[in-house]
Amino acid sequence: MSEKFLFPDDTDRVDGVAKVTGKARYFAEFDLPGLTYAVLVTSSITKGRITQLNTRNAARAPGVLAVVSHLNRPVTAGYESKEGPAMRIFYTDRIFFNGQPVAMVVADTFERATHAASLVEVGYEKEAFNTDFDGSLDQVKKPKNPAQGAYQRGEADAYKQAAVSVEATYTLPVETHNPMELHGILAFWNAADKLTVYAKTQGVKATQGTLARTFGLPAENVQVFSEFVGGGFGMALRTWPLEIGTVMAAKLVGRPVKLVITRDQMFTMVGNRPAAWQKIGLGASRNGRLTGITHHSLAQSSVYEDFMENITGMSKFMYGCENVNTTSGIVPLDLSVPIWMRGPGEATGAFALESAIDELAFKLNMDPLDFRVLNDPETDLEKNKPFSDKNLKEAYKRGAQAIGWKNRVQRPAQLTEGDWQIGYGVSTGVFGAFRRSATVRAVLNADGSLVLQSAASDIGPGTATGMVRIAAGVLGIPASSITFELGDSSLPPAPSQGGSSTLSTVGAAVNDVCLQLLGNLKELAVNAGLKADAPFADILKKNNLPYVEVTKESKGGAEQAKYSMYSFSIHFVQVKVHRRTGVVKVSRIVSVGDAGKIVSPKTAKSQMVGGAVGGMGMALTEEAVLDSRYGRYINNNFGDYHVPVNADVPDIEVIFIDKPDPHINPMGAKGMGEIALTGFSAAVANAVFNATGKRIRSLPITPDKVLQETAGV
């Protein structure tokens, strides 16, 4: 059906002007009468109890309205039950991790709150703790969810019998999301049982639900606004304890309270991508057919709450291999709980699997691209279903051409440019393509303008732009006459923006509601004696209608059970490695997206570009360094936690296959947020190997690692 769509020409980001002119308002920019400011006091120990909390001096400091803690928090419905997470803010005197909030100072200015927070004295009783991931790989907790446990098809460890095999261990450090916008919330109790919050969230409905449950309110009494979000990458997929604490504080002081946490608090309070250890075994016949894949993964979690992502997912279906076995486990530590980060699980797994694939191809003396093409399966052997849509061979070909893959030399360390060694690398990335349930309201006004509404979110990808384009395509009206409203919990429900599913889910609902609107309008036209395709404004006028409104829920159907649905990416990079200093520069990038129909080329390209930059960070610079003697992060600031800077990033070429997936949704469009990053780090590692003969299996690939590694060939 999607072939029939007439998408308008490339549309600029609908909120672009508002963003660059400062008109777009983020949660921290709202000002309410009587607004007060909160600052957190955090634990300086890693595990134990608070024995003393002296708030006297803080409470007496100028401008201070309250110091909230477990000693005086207001009655909170969700806290009275023992069910639920052990770690709740201001719940008891227990300390679960270093940097845990122990008190919140509320004052009439931010500066006064900051000053008073420094006056809170906390006494502790320390207990022995463990925050050492590398040293705790033998302390594994098996996942509760059996789907995340062991998997096997065919024989286990078949690689060990293979003619050619590799076995290697890969490690990743903790990475933090650290979007530019700091986390926090602005909370205000309009009445004893009515709450309004301006939040930074990837799901206004999810935030509404959590707050309603925690404070024992009917959901409709909680109003959540989050129209603009300054980046999320997954960290705003849950309502964090600090948000609950702010709502409590607002209740206590009876005034609006705003909390914006500090950059260092972003390292401990809002999740991270967990550190991971992976062991991969791959085997192949001499002619390059994969005969065995074994993938074991361990990732860090917290003691007070399990977090586990799907790290071994890709190994189960990406390649046509009869024998696959995987295991997954978590290592609970006395640290705050991780959360999904862009390409959750898959980005971690792809680094290991796609590095190992490159290692095996090298051992086979095969071009890694040919090796991948040879082992590209027709069907998903894990689910035993056909793929709904996959065009990898074409994607490999187009990317190879664009990067100039023919210039690559199979033997490493052959190309140089002055003091720089040149290498090429490739990797595949993948993420599930989903379609969930969403409801959209469409209001067509007398002047022909259209307003679409849904409680969706936009953490940056350009949600509204995609939605407007879909509506314009269905209705045949200019994108400029359409507005898409989101980020408001009172709008019709939509799922959180996570797992690359917004465009598919909400977009399909936009499509469906517009189709219904079109049907209704045709009927109205004909009834009024007009042609079925008369201009909408004429139809309304003739019918004497100020507006026409349609609300429709929409979700996927039987196709979801019939097909295996994924989005794919191929990342090609060229790197330069300095022969003396070990510095790695990514000199060229070509990222190919195979994610169905591209609904909005401009914002889609931005997604891929952003993912590649994030992938560069993962590959080369990002590492949250923890001193496990203290359980504290050492580099918890933007000067020392290195994300790529403009000077690091070369031009990024993006290619889309742009063929509709015939099954996923009416547009044939799949998500791209995750695949933009997934696999990228392996492409860099593979390119570094090609440039130098050095195989680096521990991210990030910093100059010291390159210098200390000896060339394996």
Partner: protein, 327 residues
Amino acid sequence: MINFQYLRAGSTEKALALLAKDKNASFIAGGTNLVDLMKKGVSSPDKLIDINKLPLKDISLEEGHIHIGALASNAAVADHALIREKLPLLSMALNKGASAQLRNMATVGGNLMQRTRCGYFYDITMPCNKRKPGSGCGALEGYNRMHAIFGHSENCIAVHPSDMCVALAALDAVVVIGQPNGERRIALSEFHRLPGKTPQLDNNLKANEIILGVEVPLNTYGRHVQYLKVRDRSSYAFALVSVAAALELDGNRIREVRLALGGVAHKPWRLTATEAFLRGREFDPALIREAANRSVAEARAFKHNKFKITLAAESIVQALSEASQQS
């Protein structure tokens, strides 16, 4: 962060007088280091004396040297025609420091006085002899990838983070210091201290003094200079190792040479012995390699920074090679 008083000094005399009155007062120039330290609770001055109004921004050619005022911004110095022409090494070093925004605010005096970036120094819940004498050194047995390989003591293995100072050390600069009744001069290479038993002291500026500027002698290196900075990303990162190299070549003969390393010690690490070894010899790759090896012979590394020994040697080779090829 605690409350403090903010004062603005209109003259150098006034600034020194204000400083003399209060033992816990501190000058503030660009504020790019001090404000962070105050936010983190590392520094808690109860008086801030803003010196930005003092007439110390001049950059001028004097008899045999160039004078740079203490309040000239890092950006202004880097981009000044006189500096680019006569002291290109300094210009290179400054432009590889921090970010454009920071360089616009940061001053020469502040850059000389900036404190280490050691994570244990910045986190007041951790031990650090520099911040709290006697509390121990967190980095010694901790995460010490960024730390010193030269001149450290069991009390402190932090490094001085400046790029500018490494170039100034190589260029034989002199720091001009104002005192309540007079001035004094001290060689830049004598300005910063090694940690020894008193890591809390970064340098030899006395509590009642102010930096007025630096004097950099005119030199004969021409374009045969290089500031090589090896870092984790292309900009806005401190040096893993940096090298300031200056050569005066007579054909292929090294008539004069200056070498200093950054990111390896509690102060800019001038390599005078290597300079003496190279002086008068024919420039060739084997000689340069030998010089580099000699330069790191005394280095002593810790758990995470062993790479710096290799990296320092390689960087010396690279910087000297590049300096010799500049034209």
